[in-house]
C-alpha cells in the first residue's frame, strides 16, 4: 500500500483540476481511501506543496525496431557527446542522445514521468525485432502500431475493391505483428518509392497501380480499423510530409475521413503553405480552424525544437530529398512488400527560414487547437526533437513571455511566415496534464492510463512546483509506475518490466489460405516464421476490440 498525501492533483479525466487530495495505491492500482485503510501498513509520500499528475503517455514515438536501430548505428558521434548511463546495481549501461539505447530509453522516459509509450511504426516482417527491443525498454508500458498503407497485399486488394478480404488480411496482420493498432505512412508513397517515385496527390493513381489512389488507401484503412473496432483509430502520417504547400493535401485527406475517427500524426509537418522552400509559411490557422470544427479527429503536434537530431521515418522519398538537401548521411531500408524507412541526421537552426516555420508551426497547433483533449504533446521523436526535451515544449506552452524571448531570435522574414507572435494563450497545469497524459491515453483507448480514478493503473508523477518549468518537468520528485516507486530524488530506484498492449481483432481463419500462397510468391521466408509468437512478447496484455 502506498499513500500520496496532500498533493495538488491534476487528473483531467476525472475533472480534478488542482485539488489537494490523497491518492491511495494498492496492488499496482489506484484504490479508494477506505479500501486501502483496511489493508494498513505501507509507505506514505508527503506530497504537500507538490503537483500530482497521471503518468505521461506518448502517443507517437520511435524507440524500438529496425529503423531506430539503424539510426543508432549511423550516429556514433552523438553517442559520444550524450548522457552516458553508467551501469549500477539497478541500472544497465546505455547511452541517451538522439537515438537512445533501449535501456536508456526506459530510464529517460520514466525519469521525466512518462510511463506509457506507443512505438508508431512497425513492419510485420521485422516485428519480432521490435518486440525484442521493446522487451529491453524497462519501466514503461508499451504498445506498437503496424505499418499498413504500403503493404502490397493490402494495396492490391484495395485496388481490386475487395474491402472485405482486405479487412480480414489487416486483422490477421495486426495479430501476426502483435500490434496494438494500424499506422498509415505516406499512403502509396512508400510503395512508389520502391521505384524511386512518390505519391503526392490524393486522387492520382499510385505509381505501379492502375486505379488505386492514396485517397482510396486512406479511406479504406480508416473504414477497416473502425469495423475491426480497434481501440485506437487509424494513425495517419499524411502524404506530402514536410513539403511547402502541403496543407492542401492534408485538408483533402481529412475531408475524406470526415465523420470517422482518425489520429493525424505529427500535424506540424503537414501544415505548410507556400510554393517552395523560399516561400514556405505556416498555415496552422487554417489547419486549426478546420480541425476545431471536426471533433472525430485527434492529432499530435510533432513539434520541432532547434538543435541536432536524427530523422527517421517510413517516408523513404522524403528522406532521400532531405539527404540531397543536407548532404549528410543517409540510411534507407526498404522492407519487402510492406514498407521502408529512411534515416538522415538533421540540425534545426533558428536562422533557417524553413526550420523557423517548423518550430513555430508545432507550437501554433498546440495553441490554436482549442480542445486539449484532441492535440497531444509529441516531437515525433526523434524527428522534431528528442523526447527527453518535452519539458522545453511545456515551458513554451505555459509562458507567452518565454515564447516572445525565443521569437526575438528569429529573423523578421521568418516572423512574417508564422502566427506565433500573435498568440497569447498560456497552458494551465490542467491543460498540460491533458496533452501529456489524459488525452493521449484516451486516444489510444487505454482507459486505465492517463487518469487517477479508482481502478486506474497506479502510474503517478509528483513534481516539486517551481518557477523553472523545464527543471520541474524534467526532474520529477517521484515517479510511480504500477504502484512501484521507480524514480525518487532524481534517481532511478527500480526498473520493473513494463507490459505490452496488443489487440486480437476477429478474422476468419481461412484467410490464411488466401495469404499463404501470395506470401510464398512474394516473400523470402517461410510463412510459419512470419507471425510473431505470443510467447515472444514479454508482458503481453491483449486488449479487447469493441465492435461498433
Amino acid at each position: 500500500m502506498l499513500r500520496i498525501r496532500g498533493g495538488k492533483v491534476y487528473d483531467p479525466a476525472n475533472g480534478v483540476d488542482g485539488v489537494v487530495q490523497d491518492i491511495w495505491i494498492s496492488d499496482g492500482r489506484i484504490v479508494a481511501a477506505g479500501e486501502a485503510a483496511v489493508e494498513g501498513g505501507g509507505r506514505t509520500i508527503d506530497a504537500s506543496g507538490m503537483i500530482v499528475f497521471p503518468g505521461g503517455v506518448d502517443v507517437h514515438t520511435h524507440v524500438a525496431g529496425g529503423a531506430i536501430n539503424f539510426a543508432r548505428a549511423m550516429t556514433p558521434e552523438d553517442h559520444r557527446r550524450t548522457t552516458a548511463f553508467i551501469r549500477s546495481q539497478t541500472r544497465r549501461a546505455g547511452l541517451g542522445g538522439m537515438a537512445p539505447t533501449t535501456f536508456a530509453t526506459g530510464y529517460l522516459y520514466a525519469g521525466m514521468g512518462w510511463t506509457t509509450v506507443n512505438e508508431a511504426a512497425v513492419p510485420i516482417l521485422s516485428a519480432k525485432h521490435t518486440h525484442e527491443e521493446l522487451r529491453d525498454v524497462p519501466i514503461v508500458d508499451k504498445s506498437c502500431l503496424v505499418l499498413m498503407a504500403n503493404n502490397e497485399i493490402v494495396l492490391d486488394l484495395l485496388e481490386q475493391g475487395e474491402v472485405e478480404r482486405a479487412r480480414q488480411v489487416v486483422a490477421w496482420q495486426i495479430w501476426a505483428a502483435k500490434a496494438y493498432g494500424v499506422k498509415a505512412v505516406n499512403p502509396g508513397g512508400v510503395a512508389a518509392w520502391k521505384w524511386g517515385k512518390d505519391a503526392k496527390e490524393m486522387d492520382e493513381p499510385v505509381p505501379g497501380y492502375n486505379k488505386l489512389t492514396p485517397g482510396m488507401i486512406v479511406s479504406g484503412l480508416a473504414e477497416i480499423v473502425d469495423e475491426l473496432g480497434l481501440p485506437h483509430p487509424l494513425h495517419l502520417h499524411c502524404n506530402n510530409l514536410g513539403a511547402p504547400g502541403n496543407i492542401t493535401t492534408t485538408l483533402e485527406t481529412m475531408r475524406r475521413l470526415e465523420g470517422r475517427r482518425a489520429h493525424l500524426a505529427h500535424l506540424q509537418y503537414h501544415a505548410y503553405g507556400g510554393d517552395d522552400w523560399g516561400t514556405m509559411r505556416s498555415e496552422t490557422v487554417a489547419m486549426a480552424e478546420y480541425f476545431n470544427a471536426h471533433p472525430t479527429f485527434t492529432t499530435d503536434a510533432g513539434a520541432v525544437l532547434f538543435g541536432d537530431t536524427v530523422t527517421i521515418t517510413a517516408d523513404g522519398p522524403w528522406q532521400h530529398l532531405l539527404y540531397k538537401l543536407t548532404g549528410r548521411k543517409w540510411g534507407n531500408l526498404d522492407v519487402e512488400n510492406e514498407t521502408g524507412c529512411g534515416i538522415v541526421p538533421y540540425t534545426y537552426r533558428p536562422n533557417s527560414l524553413v526550420n523557423a516555420v517548423q518550430w513555430a508551426a508545432g507550437l501554433e497547433l498546440l495553441l490554436l487547437i482549442d480542445d486539449p483533449w484532441r492535440v497531444y504533446l509529441t516531437t515525433d521523436h526523434p524527428n522534431g526533437a528528442c523526447f527527453w526535451r518535452y519539458p522545453e515544449i511545456i515551458q513554451l506552452l505555459m509562458s507567452a513571455d518565454f515564447r516572445r524571448e525565443c521569437l526575438a531570435k528569429l529573423s523578421d522574414r521568418a516572423k512574417e511566415r508564422i502566427h506565433l507572435p500573435e498568440l497569447d494563450r498560456e497552458y494551465t497545469l490542467g491543460e498540460i496534464a491533458t496533452i501529456v497524459s489524459a488525452g493521449p491515453a484516451r486516444a489510444l483507448g487505454l482507459s486505465q492510463k492517463g487518469q487517477l480514478g479508482v481502478g486506474a493503473d497506479a502510474d503517478v508523477v509528483i513534481y516539486e512546483e517551481e518557477a523553472d518549468i523545464v527543471r520541474m518537468f524534467g526532474h520529477p520528485r517521484y515517479v510511480i509506475k504500477g504502484g512501484e516507486i521507480v524514480v525518487e530524488e532524481g534517481e532511478i530506484r527500480a526498473t520493473p518490466h513494463g507490459r505490452e498492449f496488443l489487440v486480437k481483432p476477429d478474422y476468419d481463419a481461412s484467410i490464411v489460405d488466401y495469404l499463404q500462397p501470395l506470401f510464398e510468391d512474394y516473400y523470402t521466408m517461410a510463412f510459419e516464421n512470419y507471425p510473431v509468437e505470443l510467447e515472444r512478447v514479454e508482458g503481453a496484455d491483449v486488449r479487447q476490440c469493441t465492435k461498433p
Binding site: T75, E77, R80, R328
Partner: protein, 277 residues
Amino acid sequence: MPSLTLTLKDQPPVPLEAEVLSPDTLSKLSRDEVAACHVFLGKRRLRLDEFFAVEGEPGPDLELRGDLRQVKWIGRGMTAGQITVRGSVGMHLGAHMRGGAIEVHGDAGDWIGAEMSGGSIRIHGNAGGQVGAAYRGSNSGMRGGVILVDGSAGLEVGMRMRRGTIVIGKPSRDFTGLQMKGGTIVLLAGAEIRTGAWMTRGTIISLAPLRLLPTFAFDCSHNPVFVNLYARRLAEWNVSLPYSVQEGCYDCYSGDASVPGKGELLIWRPRSAGSLG
C-alpha cells in the same frame, strides 16, 4: 623549482587511461593531490602514484618520463601549458586539445590530436594512424592547431580535417587527407596510396611524388604565393618548404572528382628533375 615530473614505474599490463595527465587538471593541485588522482587500468580506478613516481611542483609545465606506449589520453582536451614526454606515448594524445603544447621525444600511437581545435603537438618519432582525424562518424576532424611528426604516420592522416596544419616528415600510409574539408597537410616524404581520397577542400603539399587517384586532374605547374607564406610559418618549426622558382615548381592537381571536390594537391618537382628546367 623543478616542474612536475611523473615517471612511469612499471609497464601497465593492459592500457592505462589517464586523461588526468594534463596541466589543466594537475597544475592546480598539490603534489599529494596529484599522486591521488585517478587513472583507469582496464575497469579498475587506481591512484596515479601506483604507476608514476611524482616529483617536482605542479605548474603549467608537465614532464612525463618512461615508456608510456600503454598510456592513453595524455593531454586530452588541454587548453594551456606544456607537456613534455621523454619516451613514447599511447593512443589519443592531445585529442580534443584546444591550446598549449605537447612535445614527445619518442613515438606516438593512433588518434593524436584527433578533433583538436588549437595548440600544437610535436612528435619526434613516428605517429600512428588517424593523426588529427575525426572520430568515427564525426563530421569533422581537427579544426585548428598544428601537428608535426618528424617520423612516419599511419592510415587516414587528417581524415575530415577542417582547418589547421599537419606536417609529416617521413612517408605516411594510405588515405592521407581522406575526406579532407580544409586545412593543410604537408608531406615531406610523400605517402602511400589514395592521398586526398574524397577530399572536398583543403590543401595537401607533398615534397615527394605521389601515386594519384584517377579522380584528380592536373591543373598547372607553378609556385603559388601562399606556399611562400606557408614556408615562412613552418620555418618557425624548423620545417623547410621549398618555394623559389630557382629550386623547382609544384605540379597542382585538383579533386577529388568523385565528390566532386575542390581540394588541391601540390606535388613538388625540383628543377633538375622536371622538363621546365
